[in-house]
């Protein structure tokens, strides 16, 4: 089992057309490089799951990779709308996008339930909200002791979860820290898991009770420094807030979006080349 492998091989081997795929990361550690590789390899009809679909999901949706989206907040953080997400929902471009919508609390619990091998998540939730009226996967059950009514949603069990983390050791054990979001749960809820990491080290040096994913819970570990860009990896990089702002203009029209994706993602070989071409674009814009 060659756990540590190039990202291209990992996506080729472990992400399949029609899969339910969760790329998780809560602002921090969003696996952009892996998302690009899924686009490059032209995956189709994916059910994408993510609490906060952001730029990488805008790209996956706009490039026609997604048939369905399960989410709880879809926007460009601090900037505004996700134009490709909206275009897909409002006008069915490039193809209709089915979607199942939840609250953060519910989706976070649904990942926990998935990691716990439970068929559903139980929460006090959705009281007074219209969401249960439009989502048949929000149901209510009674406590067998008190009779209280509680919300239930199906657990999330991705075919494959993809995350970005700070470190792996040479054997493939992974450590992440800081804002860890739902990544551990998303990995443990999935059948397969790919982790891109900032660096591969001899010793993890995990702090006591640190967030470690043992190698035997993972399908592939890929060394992709900066692979969260324009998101960030605490201790390694800063979030590129300007990229998030620029994305608003790039994604506003179908044509600009497609041209940008062709140039920066489809016609680049990997994340290294993406970063080189992006730097070139920045120099041209500044000129």
């Amino acid at each position: 089992m060659a756990l540590v492998m190039p990202l291209r091989e990992a996506v080729s081997e472990f992400v399949r057309d029609g899969d339910t795929v969760a790329l998780e990361g809560f602002t921090h550690l969003i696996p952009h490089a892996a998302g690009h590789e899924i686009i490059r390899q032209g995956r189709k009809n994916l059910t994408l799951v993510r609490m906060t679909p952001d730029l990488i999901y805008d790209q996956l949706i706009g490039m026609g990779c997604a048939g369905k989206l399960i989410f709880s907040w879809g926007g460009n953080p601090g900037v505004g709308s996700l134009h490709r997400f909206r275009d897909a929902i409002e006008r069915g471009w490039p193809q209709p996008l089915a979607y199942e919508e939840h609250s953060h609390a519910a989706l976070a619990n649904a990942y926990v339930a998935g990691a716990s091998n439970l068929p559903f998540a139980l929460l006090r939730g959705y009281t007074g909200s219209d969401l249960p009226k439009v989502n048949p996967n929000i149901r209510f059950i009674e406590c067998p002791f008190t009779g209280e009514k509680l919300a239930a949603i199906p657990s999330i069990r991705p075919d494959v979860t993809v995350i970005h983390a700070q470190k792996a050791d040479r054997r493939g054990n992974v450590l992440l820290w800081g804002i860890v979001g739902v990544q551990k749960e998303a990995v443990l809820a999935a059948k397969r898991a790919i982790v891109t990491v900032e660096e591969i080290v001899d010793e993890l040096d995990a702090p006591p009770n640190g967030c470690v994913l043992p190698r035997w819970t993972l399908s592939a570990v890929c060394h992709v420094p900066g692979g969260a860009y324009p998101s960030y990896a605490q201790g390694y990089s800063e979030r590129d807030n300007r990229f998030y702002q620029r994305w608003d203009a790039v994604a506003r029209s179908r044509e600009d979006f497609t041209a940008w994706m062709d140039r920066h993602v489809r016609n680049t070989a990997d994340f290294e080349e993406f970063k080189r071409v992006l730097a070139e674009t920045a120099r041209q814009e500044a000129a």
Binding site: F26, T27, H28, M51, T52, D54, F71, S72, W73, G74, G75, N76, P77, G78, V79, G80, S81, L82, F85, R86, I89, E90, E101, H102, S103, H104, A105, A108, N109, Y111, V112, L123, R124, G125, Y126, T127, G128, S129, D130, L131, V134, E148, K149, G178, I179, V180, G181, V182, K184, E185, C211, Y232, Q234, E238, R239, N241, R242, Q245
Partner: protein, 261 residues
């Protein structure tokens, strides 16, 4: 009176409502600005919790996103997002939920989901995020947004997060645990729910604003309190703290504000 902007006044007015020592679940953007201003002025012991995981965050500059590293680095601890929603929010440990909104109605219900029909949206908004459970489980809720007829609507196309539903005791009857919105703070004034009907009532108007202006910015016939107060103008120390905070933020990020994600 013109030495501050309407947004500054709104932010200061919102920040003042936050009591020292209270535990506050903070949305990004205006709520985060107001909550941090409170922490930097009258409420140094306020505990700020962000849904991404930081507990007791004390950011020097405002976060642009809900998951900025600054929040993690300055927090007492950072827990997983599921833990935030399970042990801390649902656990009943939040005194104040501090929310923004795209639209509110007269009973302080919130829409952040859609304009138009859900299945055929005119404008698809970002969605619920953490708000439905913050709105239902925090002991009280502050809502901060700019006032306009598009934002203050007679009838919401979609109730994302519950205020007082149809008013009166509708919220209680629906079994919603938290106390609900106790203030809606805008750039024009402060609205609080009537103790019985729970209809939002203008109880404080910002200096220099007329009642007619507030009514014109509201999509229903807004109730005005008989003893309508005038919001105290921002004090020099409040303004200085706010401007310093925003200047530090702009310098650090080259950008202001922020959203979820």
């Amino acid at each position: 009176m013109n030495e501050f902007t309407a947004t500054e006044l709104m932010t200061v007015a919102a920040s003042r409502l936050l009591k020292d020592g209270s535990v506050c679940f903070v949305g990004i953007g205006l709520p985060s600005t107001a909550a941090n201003l409170a922490r930097l002025t009258h409420a140094p012991e306020v505990v700020l919790i962000y849904e991404s995981g930081p507990i007791g965050a004390k950011p020097t500059v405002l976060p642009l996103s809900i998951g900025d590293g600054e929040l993690a680095l300055t927090a007492d601890t950072v827990v997983s997002t599921p833990e935030i929603f399970r042990y801390w929010l649902q656990g009943g440990r939040i005194d104040v939920g501090f929310l923004g909104a795209a639209q509110v109605d007269r009973f302080a219900n919130i829409n952040t989901t859609v304009i138009g029909d859900y299945a055929n949206p005119k404008v698809r908004l970002p969605g619920a995020g953490g708000a439905p459970e913050i709105a239902s489980q925090a002991k009280e809720v502050f809502i901060v947004l700019k006032q306009s007829p598009k934002a203050f609507v007679d009838r919401l196309p979609f109730v994302t997060s519950a205020g007082f539903l149809d008013g009166g005791d509708a919220r209680q009857r629906a079994g919603i645990p938290g106390g609900g919105p106790t203030a809606v703070i805008t750039d024009l004034g402060i609205m609080t729910p009537d103790p019985v009907t729970k209809e939002l009532t203008l109880t404080s108007i910002h200096p220099g604003v007329t009642v007619e202006q507030v009514k014109a910015a509201t999509g229903w016939d807004l109730k005005i309190a008989a003893d309508l107060a005038t919001t105290a103008a921002p004090q020099p120390n409040e303004l200085a703290a706010l401007r310093d905070l925003l200047a530090r933020t702009a310098k650090a990020h080259g950008q202001t504000a922020g959203g979820e994600g």
